[in-house]
Amino acid sequence: MMETLLEVNELKKHFPVSNPIPFKKSTQSVKAVDGVNFNVYQGETLGIVGESGCGKSTMARLVNQLIKPTDGSVIFKKQNLVDMSAEKLRQTRQQIQMVFQDPYASLDPRLKVGELIAEPLVIHQIGDRASQKQRVEDLLEIVGLNKRYADRYPHEFSGGQRQRINIARALTLNPELVICDEPVSALDVSVQAQVINLLNTLQQDFKLTYIFISHDLNVVRYMCDRIAVMYLGRIVEIGTFEEIYSNPQHPYTKALFSAIPKESPFEEKERIILKGTVPSPLNPPSGCHFHERCPVAIDICKTKEPRMITKENTHQTSCHLAD
């Protein structure tokens, strides 16, 4: 078994919703992430898929403590990040970096590329000016950009190039875990392929571990060793891609996979069209969160929350019918 790099236990994040009556304390909360458990092993890519609003991005931000969880623990290399002191966390976080979705919004337009990439070194006071400059040039070459680009501003670059800059910046401190939050969904297909290839090469060269968040199941299939399917703040199925793709257990996973667009005009596809839309996380349905839209729901689904059961090896699902 590979070594566990990250362990997430019963992680919860409830955002309070402001009370419409002024000065009253809020009583309701959006349960964005509601009891999530998973492990990430050294050197693998864990994909997280699900519809918008299911809590994917909130979870990413919880893992590196950009937001504090309501409950639960995040254990990175045997240390719990949740109750760590601020200074210790700052140090540890060097090893967990993030690449965001929108390459147009995630780079400060007033900083030069060189300054953007060197910023982590400046913050953590690593090296002198000259060595920082050298590091920036090395990084630009690693991600396939010309080292003279260090003196340019972000607006001079295309979406794909900006995402390369973002990746370079995430690598500045030699992290072990990189969380990619929809890194390619804002890019055109041809450029998307370039960035995916880059991420793959970097993973091999620098022994990186990825948490890869995406709603594009084709990209996830290509990139990831294991995937976790999320629905309304919970993981409904987790396992290797083959296990889940060839033998999906949860009805939501089945519907999600059936919605992947055709690969050719000749393909005939059986569609499971889900009724309705994702319910509000403010007031999630009782029992299994999915039962209102589930084509095969039975009585027990309305009342009892299903627990995670192991189907085979690493394949786990939470559905009463899979029992």
Partner: protein, 341 residues
């Protein structure tokens, strides 16, 4: 086949900013027949949306200017019509849905209000009558409890539901042509499947033609009969989807098809991608616009701009080397003629 419903002839659109002229659309020609679905694909900046918005003259002018060309609808050139006349066609006979359902509805009016406004703008009917029509439209696009939903505001709808409302508004006057500009890009896959299904159903029911603009080939395979591939403001290849999938002729189309991730894609092999980026359209392009990124470029490609030529009936390509050599080489590389699985 009778006269095409809509005919775009040698359309040129320019954007003028200061002294720089950007030629966003450079001679686009195509025809749309009755009940036909045409897909337009291409990268961002390839001129897909500009072409589509030019049809209804929805592009802001200035800075945009339709420099040349004609757009014939039912025998009339839309570019020669007065503002008053084009308004009769816009939203009535040709209507459009946009990419982002959350910004294309007015947040301060109820959806019913916006539907009724569209209906009453084109048809002389009473408010009461229009409201009934609005309710039946919401019902048509699959919104539950339409009589209650009609009095709600856009923020009370989810993304998929808003796109349904947009479709309802677009269909309010039984258009002959529906232009859909990336209608599902902002939506989740499960919702995308719902919306594409709905559009197909409605097309059959209402006998419309659809122009579907997208960058997702999966969407094209789902919905379209014919496909135009655009690059740098030009159509570089056009064919029926099946032809195009089996026998793509333009190197750019190959690149597009290859960079799709398929089921058989081996994760240990790198994905095929097209190196480089599209040319800057504010400079005069000499030769083939794809030449800088084309792995097969020859001397002639730098000198002469290839024209769109029909190689087999219904299949046209703008490339100097239209068939044999490339096709052979492509086959050698193992991309046989796209068998289905």
């Amino acid at each position: 086949m009778s006269e095409p419903l809509l005919k775009i002839d040698n359309l040129h659109v320019e954007f003028k900013t200061g002294s720089i002229i950007t030629r966003a659309v450079n001679g686009v020609t195509f025809e749309l027949n009755k009940q036909e679905n045409i897909g337009i694909v291409g990268e961002s900046g390839s001129g897909k949306s500009v072409t589509a918005t030019s049809i209804l003259q929805l592009i802001p002018s200035p800075p945009a200017k339709i420099a040349n060309g004609a757009i014939y609808f039912k025998g009339k050139n839309l570019l020669e019509l007065s503002t008053k006349e084009i308004r009769k066609i816009r939203g009535n006979e040709i209507s459009m849905i946009f990419q982002d359902p959350s910004t294309s509805l007015n947040p301060v009016f109820t959806v019913g209000n916006q539907l009724i406004e569209t209906i009453r703008a084109h048809k002389k009917v009473s408010k009461k009558h229009a409201k009934q029509k609005a309710i039946s439209l919401l019902d048509l696009v699959g919104i539950p409890a339409p009589d209650k939903r009609i009095d709600m505001y856009p923020h009370e709808f989810s993304g998929g539901m808003r796109q349904r409302v947009m479709i309802a508004i677009a269909l309010a006057c039984d258009p002959k042509v529906l232009i859909a500009d990336e209608p599902t890009t902002a939506l989740d896959v499960t919702v995308q499947a719902q919306i594409l299904n709905l559009m197909k159903e409605l097309q059959e029911k209402l006998a419309m033609s659809i122009i579907m603009i997208t960058h997702d080939l999966g969407v094209v395979w789902e919905t379209c009969d014919k496909l135009l591939v655009m690059y740098a403001g030009r159509v570089v290849e056009s064919a029926s989807v099946k032809d195009l999938y089996q026998q793509p002729l333009h190197p750019y189309t190959w690149g597009l098809l290859d960079s799709q991730i398929s089921e058989e894609q081996n994760s240990s092999e790198p994905l095929a991608s097209i190196p480089g980026s599209p040319p800057d359209l504010s400079y005069e392009i000499k030769g083939c616009p794809f030449v800088e990124r084309c792995p097969y470029a020859q001397e002639i490609c730098y000198q002469k701009t290839p024209q769109l030529n029909e190689t087999t009936p219904g299949h046209a390509v703008a490339c100097h080397f239209q068939t044999s050599e490339h096709q052979l080489e492509r086959k050698e590389r193992g991309y046989s003629d796209g068998d289905t699985t």
